[in-house]
Symmetry: C2
Subunit: 198 residues, 2 copies
């Protein structure tokens, strides 16, 4: 680890290359075989790294899959900035609905909830992702407050807009129509306050 090659590496050097190669290998294998059709060894071989490199960095195949899919999910759904709270929430809710009902949506949601937490980093990936999204959502709500609007807090958005959509998809309970998604946001906007104690 402290030989000359390591000491002279550039920022974004070997570690970033390994990350990119492993992510690409996973994406390719998911595309070819689906989410449960390959092993850590196959990912490592295709990425040109040792199995132990993958285990050391991600802890398990589940955690690696979660990292890859959540990274992609994040890239697919940036937080909107439309100039109004209603516009932002409607746009964001519609975007989440599109992603989770898309071709990989159910698989990604299942991965996120299936992480067992038995490996050292199993849950870190998911929790980092969730914390990241919570911060982005909070920024959106802070912008609304700065404009003099009365935004709900981030957990209330998650509870009453995201959670109903996630649960419908996870339990296969009916489609997320545009009317249904908009209705969740309208309902929240009509009562943005969080009940005391919640």
């Amino acid at each position: 680890m402290d030989d000359e090659h390591q000491r002279t590496r550039r920022p974004g050097g070997r570690s970033a290359r390994v990350g990119a190669a492993v992510h690409q290998a996973v994406s390719d294998l998911v595309g070819e075989r689906g989410y449960s059709g390959f092993t850590v060894s196959e990912v490592a071989a295709r990425a040109g790294v040792a199995d132990t490199t993958v285990y050391r960095r991600w802890g398990s195949l589940e955690a690696l899959l979660a990292d890859v899919t959540l990274t992609r999910l994040n890239a697919q759904s940036p937080m909107p900035d439309t100039g109004s709270l209603a516009g932002d929430l409607h746009t964001y809710a519609a975007q989440v609905a599109r992603v989770i009902t898309g071709p990989d949506g159910l698989a990604v949601l299942r991965l996120a909830v299936a992480l067992s937490g038995t490996g050292p980093d199993d849950l870190r990936t998911r929790d980092d992702f969730l914390a990241d999204r919570a911060r982005q959502l909070q920024s959106m709500l802070d912008r609304a407050a700065d404009r003099g609007e009365q935004p709900p807090d981030a957990l209330t958005v998650v509870d009453h807009v995201m959670a109903p959509m996630y649960i419908r998809v996870l339990f296969g309970a009916g489609p997320l129509t545009a009317e249904y998604v908009a209705g969740l946001v309208d309902r929240l906007l009509s009562n943005p306050a969080r009940p005391s104690g919640a």
Copy 2:
């Protein structure tokens, strides 16, 4: 199938005995080894039936696990009948919170969302369970309407009381405090109407 033994079987005969033996075997194995520590063959051996009997009736280990756990879940949380909508909803929400944060709660929720739908009956068990619960919930809401109260519809209860609790447990996002759970019900009762189009 049409020999004398079969023709003279009583209602609740061999089929019910097989069901009970298999359920018991699964419960025992879950208790001894957790949810992912055994195979269909081990269940069948312990229940004294052929592997094919289990596959024919349940389709997969996942579907069998879901059947056993959802049957138990149903038995653990009967619908309340307290005489008021608020009382029923507060009691029901607290009961669900207790079950899903209990020792098997997360495992049961994960099982319910992990069913792959690839086997012939994989999803039937879960969907039967969900339909059953929806009917029970509807009866509770119908009783409220009969008393002259203004109940929300069942899907709105699921979206705004059950879904937030399920998602918090599934994503490991904080405890379900009594105040939080009661707050979800209070919020719903303050706005029981479903937005148009939802």
